[in-house]
């Protein structure tokens, strides 16, 4: 038991810290193949991180300590999130707990930190992106809360370990509530990873970008931290989706095997969505998320009708 716990902790750290840049790399490669281009290698993000690590940072004038500390705070918060999200349904006892709402809180703080950095430089593009990100997060957080309520209904807890344990039981798939939660969570994954149709991670066109906007001023190690944080956000979102939504074997190593197979499949799914979907008009995003919320609400009603009758 203690060995598997240690292994789970190692997978959490190695996967979340070291393997995370593979995920956006995979999405980019698969997307390029789907579009008939050779595309970059899947290790391209590592090369970029190495290049950035060697470059010098840039500080716009005027700026305060807020601008300089934000990349560090965001990277630290994403590390925290990596430690919170259990792998294989096991949490090796990091002193950070494993509560879903704590995860939501730390991601929210990282979003706000980026907004503060944008205010600090005063650049219009950063502020535009941050304002959009925070405005989208209003409907995204509401949807995430509904999804968590739904998942907690079947698991009886908001602990990510308990939620993930509930997914190992075959009968959760008989619950319409679980299907509704799956729809909600997948939409939240799209928002958190900043993928189309919510955001286009490839664009640097000022008028369309969301997450890339506040990153414009940064370079060097600051930008390396922020790009790693984007990759870690992919890891957190995709691991959560596989842990909470896919049917899981009970044994830890079986779940590890499933994770290794499922994560590339998730990346392929993201790439497929990006290839077939255009970026949505910004003001329509709340409608998409609201539709997900309506489905989740139906799931809650069906669960309650079931529990009552």
């Amino acid at each position: 038991m203690s060995f598997t716990l240690t292994a789970a902790g190692a997978v959490q750290l190695l996967g979340g810290v070291c393997a995370a840049p593979l995920l956006p790399g995979m999405v980019q490669t698969i997307k390029a193949r789907l579009q008939g281009r050779p595309g970059p290698r899947i290790t391209q993000p590592y090369l970029e991180l190495r290049r950035l690590w060697k470059k010098s940072r840039s500080n716009p004038s005027p700026h305060t300590v807020v601008y300089e500390s934000v990349p560090i705070l965001i990277a630290a918060l994403l590390l925290l999130a990596v430690l919170i999200v259990p792998v294989g349904g096991l949490s090796p006892g990091w002193p950070v707990g494993h509560d879903a709402l704590v995860l939501v809180g730390s991601l929210a703080l990282s979003r706000c930190a980026l907004g503060l950095a944008a205010w600090d430089t005063g650049g219009g593009f950063g502020l535009m992106g941050a304002a959009r990100d925070l405005a989208i997060s209003v409907s995204a957080e509401a949807l995430l809360m509904l999804t968590l309520v739904l998942l907690a209904m079947t698991a009886g807890s908001t602990s990510l370990v308990a939620l993930s344990a509930a997914a190992t039981k075959a009968h959760v798939w008989d619950e319409p509530a679980h299907w509704a939660a799956a729809v909600g969570l997948l939409l939240v994954v799209l928002v958190e990873t900043g993928r189309q149709p919510i955001d286009n991670p490839d664009t640097h066109l000022e008028l369309t970008m969301v997450h890339e906007g506040p990153l414009l001023e940064y370079s060097g190690r600051d930008l390396a931290y922020l790009q790693w944080a984007t990759a870690a956000r992919h890891w957190v979102a995709l691991v959560l989706a596989t842990e909470l939504l896919l049917p899981q074997p009970a044994a830890f190593w079986g779940r590890m095997l499933e994770l290794v197979v499922a994560l590339p499949l998730c990346c392929a799914a993201l790439a497929l969505v990006e290839t077939t979907q255009a970026k949505m008009r910004l003001l329509r995003v709340p409608l998409l998320l609201g539709a997900g919320g309506a489905i989740c609400l139906l799931g809650i009603v069906s669960y309650l009708a079931d529990a009552h009758g």
């Binding site: 709402l101 995204a140 709340p286």
Partner: protein, 625 residues
């Protein structure tokens, strides 16, 4: 007793012509004594003095709940009074305001220790009237007079409900005696209490006076009104719903959830579009009162469906939110006062870049704003986490027996999450536009940090905000025991972190320590010895053009996306969009019908023939007989 004596003395000192500075010091001392004794009662087990009775003879006494609110009063009022020393220096009516502040604190304390309906209602009226006097002493222009009139009119209309509810309770001997017998009367009292105390607390449909009155007052009075006075109104609500009228009917819990959710989301939605800092803070108070009421509603629902553990936790959530908001809002209003003392007006779009000029005030305001935004590791996050957990567990616990209540609490949790996200946007905008970037007025470029007597209270409150966020586990078991009419047994174990059943636990100390360690590690990796060249100084990227201060972003620009999204979403939600699809369907049907009407005689003859053949065939098949 010493505290009350000192406060009473400080009322008289300025009137006797002695220095109001000395009176303010005396007030601080008195408040600290009062708060210390309150905290001792809240943390200890014993209550002092009389207990509630339904006679009309005045009596005073302190129990745990009163003790907690007394401590809350002192925590906000003592820094506010210290801040007022420098804040009132240039005010024209310092002496009168000093004396009135002491009266106001005494009225609040008196309401909290009143043990009979006569003195309760007397202090209630004083608590309503004194802020109006203080506002008018400071500013008696026509606009202020109008707002104060609205304040008095609305709160007195609400006061009618409070008087009625309390007198009905006292008449039937329900204060400290047997509860009301009639179910109808109990519901009536609960409804009156929600309307009356809800008006004074600024609950959303009844809030209209709050954003008008709070910004007008001097900063330390605003801090007291927003931080303490609305909480004291909630204290009255708790007394009625949890003690005198208990057990409250099930609908009361559901109504509180609805009102709380409406207030939370509505309050912050109004706040985000404000252009003036103090008005924004006042609307944010409406939100936070909503969050407290949400937790109270969850607590009522849990105890009505027989889950004492979570009923206690939800009550603790309400108290923690009360505490966290009082500290943060006190800090923000005092901070607004500090900013106004150097920057003049508080129009958001006329400030900017103040963090560099006022690092201490700026840092404290950032901490307060993050706490109000409910972000970790501040007190606001711990209380909002606890409130959300209470709502989620209300769904889980009531799902089998009361599906309606479960559905309402699921919706309330969702709306609270949305409100938290809007609050995050609001306070990112506030910090950004006030403290960061470049000054939007030239005279802001050389302002100076405020004197130590103004900075000190802010630093103390900021430290308390952080402390509540990092060590909520030490408070929550005590807060859970504050609920009146419980046996007072401890249901939770004290510890640094919040380990609650059915959650992944909130190890606040571990989270904060881990975050600090990771930040240190990453800072060292970036700036350590092996770091490369110094960062290059560059202008911010504006497509290669020069940065124009007049083109600096405003709060309106930052919140524009949210406004457009809300405008796009709300009408669609409200109209449900049935008429447009229906109209399209009808037009398409009409198009098909028009093709039938070709106008040629032979076609119509063909139709007739076809109909005849169809009828004959139907008769033949025996379907028409």
């Amino acid at each position: 007793m010493v505290g009350v004596g000192a406060l009473a003395l400080s009322v008289l000192l300025p009137l006797a012509g002695k220095g109001w500075h000395r009176a303010l010091s005396l007030q601080t001392f008195g408040l600290l004594c009062l708060g210390a004794s309150g905290a001792a009662v809240a943390f200890g087990a014993r209550s002092f003095g009389a207990s509630f009775h339904s006679n009309y003879a005045p009596a005073i006494g302190v129990d745990r709940l009163s003790g907690f609110f007394l401590a809350l009063l002192a925590l906000v009022a003592a820094p506010a009074v210290v801040h007022a020393r420098a804040g009132l220096a240039r005010a024209p009516h310092a002496r009168a305001l000093t004396s009135l502040t002491a009266c106001f604190c005494l009225a609040l304390a008196g309401l909290l220790v009143a043990r009979d309906v006569t003195s309760f209602l007397a202090f209630w009226e004083l608590m309503t009237l004194l802020p109006a006097v203080m506002i008018l002493v400071g500013d008696h222009g026509p606009a202020a007079r109008g707002h104060v009139f609205t304040y008095l009119a609305v709160t007195h209309l609400g006061g009618v409900a409070v008087w009625t509810a309390l007198l009905v309770l006292a008449h039937h001997g329900a204060l400290g005696g047997a509860p009301l017998h009639s179910e109808l009367l109990r519901s009536l009292v609960a409804a009156l209490a929600i309307i009356g105390f809800g008006t004074k607390a600024g609950l959303m449909p009844l809030h209209s006076w709050l954003p008008r009155a709070h910004p007008l007052a001097p900063p330390h009075v605003s801090a007291l009104m927003s931080g303490v006075m609305v909480k004291v109104a909630l204290y009255g609500l708790i007394r009625v719903l949890f003690q005198w009228d208990a057990p409250a009917p099930l609908w009361v819990g559901i109504a509180l959830l609805m009102l709380g959710a409406f207030s939370a989301l509505g309050g912050i939605t109004f706040a985000v579009f404000q252009r003036e800092l103090k008005r924004l803070l006042a609307y944010c108070t409406v939100e936070n009162v909503g969050v407290v009421v949400l937790a109270l509603g969850a607590s009522l629902l849990m105890s009505a469906t027989g889950h004492p553990l979570w009923a206690a936790i939800a009550f603790a959530a309400a108290m923690l939110q009360t505490l966290a908001h009082a500290l943060a809002k006190g800090l923000m209003f005092l901070g607004a006062g500090s900013l106004a003392s150097v920057a003049g007006k508080l129009e958001l779009d006329s400030l900017g870049g103040l963090l560099r000029r006022m690092p201490w005030t700026g840092a404290a305001v950032i901490i307060g704003a993050l706490s109000l935004a409910g972000l970790p590791p501040m007190g606001g996050f711990a209380s909002e986490w606890l409130t959300l957990q209470s709502l989620v567990h209300t769904v889980l616990q009531t799902a089998g027996r009361e599906p309606g209540a479960a559905l309402v609490s699921a919706l309330a949790a969702t709306l609270l999450a949305a409100a938290a996200a809007v609050a995050a946007l609001t306070f990112v905008a506030v910090i950004g536009v006030v403290l960061l970037g470049t000054p939007r007025r030239t005279e802001l470029a050389n302002v100076n940090e405020t004197p130590a007597t103004m900075r000190g209270p802010l630093m103390v409150l900021a430290a308390l905000c952080l402390l509540v966020g990092i060590l909520p586990g030490l408070l929550v078991p005590t807060l859970a025991r504050l609920r009146p009419a419980t046996a007072g047994t401890s249901v939770l174990h004290a510890g640094a972190s919040l380990n609650l059943p059915g959650t992944g636990s909130l190890p606040t100390l571990g989270l904060a320590a881990t975050l600090a360690a990771l930040v240190a590690l990453l800072w060292f990796a970036r700036n350590g010895r092996a770091a490369q060249r110094r960062p290059a100084a560059t202008p911010a990227w504006t497509c290669g053009q020069a940065v124009e201060p007049t083109l600096a972003w405003s709060v309106a620009g930052f919140t524009e996306t949210l406004r457009l999204m809300a405008q796009g979403l709300l009408p669609r939600l409200l109209e449900l969009q049935v008429q447009e699809p229906l109209a399209a369907l009808a037009l398409r049907g009409a198009g098909v019908m028009r093709r039938l009407q070709s106008g040629s005689l032979t076609t119509y003859l063909g139709y007739l023939l076809g109909l005849l053949a169809l009828l004959l065939a139907l008769v033949r098949l025996g379907l028409l007989s």
